[in-house]
Subunit: 243 residues, 4 copies
């Protein structure tokens, strides 16, 4: 089986501001931490791409050689060019998996795939989160037990304005009184989409073993085998044979 080719995309703005706390947690950017972790897994090869590269690092050639794209954005969603969003969108529908992380709930590409506002509640006091496994049969939940905890995190609360997930894998409990559907799967065209909530830029979320286990599982799930999708086609004759 060929290696899964992952492109880890990051807005990479917070981490480059001299005094931003994200810089201390992720001096080389969180994409580097995620990519390094994935490259340490058998059967996965990961590279990175960031907003301020030409074409945001997402040329057609890069996308054509990507099986799974991970996306992190926060303060610069609007700086992502629509033509690049179109390109990524098309690739997902043609079979590339995509994992949207944390504040990527408001990214153009996630909203494009969902067709909804993707709005939610939020609070930033560094409270405890427990991520409960709801669907133990799902490969994305493998190996994390009944639940796992993040001692300090930003809260996201319901209503998360998304289409009904095809699979609901995790639901989060927050110390401050909220719940959230924090691991959700959808199918869009030939592609698979996973949204995973954890990931604030100033807590060391992407250094947590359980979070990284889930992202690794999700890479494997999103890369899943897929057949062709018929595109619009004119079929002239009754009982016409299709290739």
């Amino acid at each position: 089986m060929a290696d899964i080719r992952v492109t880890v995309w990051n807005e990479f703005r917070h981490e480059q501001k001299p005094d931003h706390p994200a810089r201390k947690v992720y001096p080389k950017g969180m994409h580097q931490v995620i990519a390094d972790h994935l490259n340490a897994q058998p059967g996965i090869v990961a590279r990175t791409a960031t907003l301020d590269q030409p074409e945001h690092g997402l040329t057609q050639e890069v996308l054509d050689n990507t099986d799974v794209l991970t996306w992190w954005g926060h303060c610069a969603h609007k700086d992502v060019k629509d033509e690049i969003v179109d390109r990524v969108h098309q690739r997902v529908l043609d079979g590339m998996g995509i994992i949207c992380l944390h504040s990527a709930h408001f990214s153009k590409i996630f909203k494009r795939l969902m067709g909804t506002k993707c709005s939610l509640l939020w609070r930033e006091i560094g409270e405890k989160e427990r991520l409960w496994v709801i669907d133990a049969a799902h490969p994305i939940a493998a190996g994390v037990g009944a639940y796992f905890e993040l001692p300090q995190t930003e809260m996201y609360g319901e209503i998360f304005d998304i289409p009904n997930p095809d699979h609901l894998v995790f639901v989060s409990w927050f110390a401050g009184g909220e719940v959230f559907r924090s691991g959700c799967c959808w199918h869009r065209g030939r592609g698979r989409v996973f949204y995973f909530r954890p990931g604030h830029e100033t807590f060391p979320i992407y250094k947590d073993a359980n979070v990284m286990r889930v992202i690794t599982n999700a890479v494997q799930w999103c890369a899943g085998d897929r057949g062709p999708v018929n595109d619009v086609r004119h079929v002239k004759e009754p009982m016409e044979k299709l290739a």
Copy 2:
């Protein structure tokens, strides 16, 4: 209970071309036939809007006073302005129902709501279609029996590239060998979406009693009661009370 306020939108281009066969079937446009039918139902008041009116007939004021919008388009999807699509999209997410008819599968608003290509197979030889009821428990299927037939229609075939419907109400059989998910429901934000396949411009589909019964049922379903959706909100304190 207040009347359901419907706006019947039509591209209205085919029917205005002097020699187009649609003109014979729908001399005043198919929107007029649909609106007249709906206005004859108790509890429904319908008006019309068309592409070539200012703002496509869909001003903010019109949309704010619309509970359910029906949409038919075919040859001029690209002429619908993006800002009007944004406005309609926002209203759906805020609670307006929408019924997309036939070739509206390729309309900007339907693709926006789905997030997929919405592609399909097609053949135009006027063959027989049988629409089978798959979910007899669904109010949209009320009153049409186990199935109903259209003696001559355009064929649409799978794969219909859409997100998994929340409710699958009808599946079509075509004499020429294809099947199609021809009545599908989704929830997007506060709004309900129904796609209904029948509706070619040169067959008198919108004069068929079963087709019109389904559209009437769908208007009632799409207008269903809905509560508020939380928008993105900053919740500062643990256990903070929300209004």
Copy 3:
């Protein structure tokens, strides 16, 4: 529109034990409190039935005249006769709605409808529960705001071993660290099924205004119009007409 005919079923064992705390909260049984509330709503008429009546109060005649059945059981699930479970099951598949309350997750009828173990976590220390609305578009959530609270309740936690709900309406947060899918809808045959978590026998849960609002909403949803379902039928000829 005819009144919705509800039968409120209760095991009614706890409340008859002289020293059981449930007796203080519900001296006439919790079925009486639920039925009284429903009878105070326009368009609903409710009667009661209990385990120790002949045929558990659920004769064929009673069921044939019931649009929605509510079910509460806890310590005597095994005393419910299989033939009565068969009868109730058949009526649900033929179109009667059913609302399973709290510990009815382990009732024979609920397990029969689900096909799974229906197991869960539990803790009984009288902690706070917040029920968050996840699907604001669902009529069962009408009128309760973004969430509502029960100050003291038994905890139920995930994994709740159920088939994926057709609609997930509420997710609960518990002070002690758990989450739970506490309002779930399914369609089975012509019938609608709603599971609603609140309802411990010694906390006055069925005197809470929000809980009773949800049960009233659920009665209305479960009574929803339904058409016929084809039963197994031998169709002898191609293109044979079906009534």
Copy 4:
């Protein structure tokens, strides 16, 4: 990766009657044809079990060493002992996959897993069936093209009275005018369930390359990795740690 251990179960009554046409098509029983095919695939080892063996060939030891069970029954559903159905049901909920074939739609185990009547229409004139792929992203559809045909088969038609499938993979078209959801997936507890329509006893359906490709794909899907499911557990303390 360890081999997938399959047990191919067959009622095996038709094929043993001296003059039954099934005997000519499947002289050793259709279980033998299916098992031989699966044993020819890499990574799969299959054995067989039949109704008239002690405990129907499904001892606890056999089930404990089965990853995926395939089931074919038709005229003797009622002869399957309830205690064996209980045992198989429990194993599915604990993680064994199950593939129910053709007339197994009316088997006790399938009805137990579904909770519905599982009724349908049928006609037996040996007409053509086209199985259209609806979900090209599903591994069960790999390798069969846009559709495949069976030149002569028994017809099954909608409404198939089942819970909404978690994945709808195939929809069939029949020459005589019907449609059918002929490949459906569900999750029940830790186990995966696939229903596959083709399989009449007197047409050589299990000798068709596409049918056998789908069954092989389904074995692989149903054997998918699964984690543990919490059973009912008493959690005494708030924020109690769970293993």
